[in-house]
Symmetry: C2
Subunit: 114 residues, 2 copies
DNA sequence: GCACCATATCATTCCCCGCTGATATGTCGT
DNA sequence: ACGACATATCAGCGGGGAATGATATGGTGC
């Protein structure tokens, strides 16, 4: 009984953490940010983010598995897009929060900004 | 010139990533979640989260430096609280997003759920 | 001042994850 | 079918950070 409650609680927390981790990487954020302005093919993402192509593909796979982006084949290109407007909402929430805490976040050296 | 733009862009991304990383940990999420229901002292957080005391203190330091929580001394206790309602907004938006992508997130094994 | 409780700090260990380089798969024009 | 481009996959390396255990600091009441 208690365990069920605890499991539920921790399962929720784990899921949140895992989702947050999906956003907690500069490369993935760069990709998501680029896609916020409309769908893009992989090589376009490579150009704009200045990341290596395998790197972009790896992150896209991750984002795709997580359901954060969707893909459509278009000829020999594969076009990726944001899967839900809620993602955009989340990103703007973060910016709103940064308006308040940016200073502290930058100062915090418990973990490194890559 | 171009570098300035790039620096600005990447600086923004880095800051977002760093903030997201602040939330991308089950222990910190447990602490923040507990604090969402009102201020708590450290030993109360230890009870509710079932984390070790040093662990809680370490994370609190991190959250404090980042400006995500604030603290007030109360006798020999130190009471911690959420610093901004925007944090609560962020957390509930994550849950809203999870309503859509929870399945995919759990399935994604590119990185591990702790 | 002394025992006690609450909280903070620090070093160490361990593991996760992101990047790279090479290679495989796939799709299109000719 | 072949060559060129677009994308995916995989092994291996390297670094960051979370948890622990021991210890230090600080406030409280007697």
């Amino acid at each position: 009984m208690v365990q069920i409650v605890d499991d539920r609680k921790s399962a929720t927390i784990e899921r949140r953490a895992k989702l947050f981790r999906g956003f907690a990487d500069p490369s993935r954020l760069a990709i998501l940010g680029a896609l916020c302005n409309g769908p893009l093919a992989v090589h376009e993402l490579v150009e704009r983010t200045e990341l290596s192509q395998p790197n972009v593909s790896n992150h896209l796979r991750c984002l795709l598995d997580c359901g954060l982006v969707a893909s459509d084949r278009d000829g020999r290109f594969i076009r990726y897009r944001i899967s839900s407007p809620r993602i955009t909402v989340l990103l703007s929430d973060v910016d709103a929060l940064l308006d308040v805490v940016a200073e502290g976040v930058e100062a915090c050296d418990n973990y490194r900004g890559a």
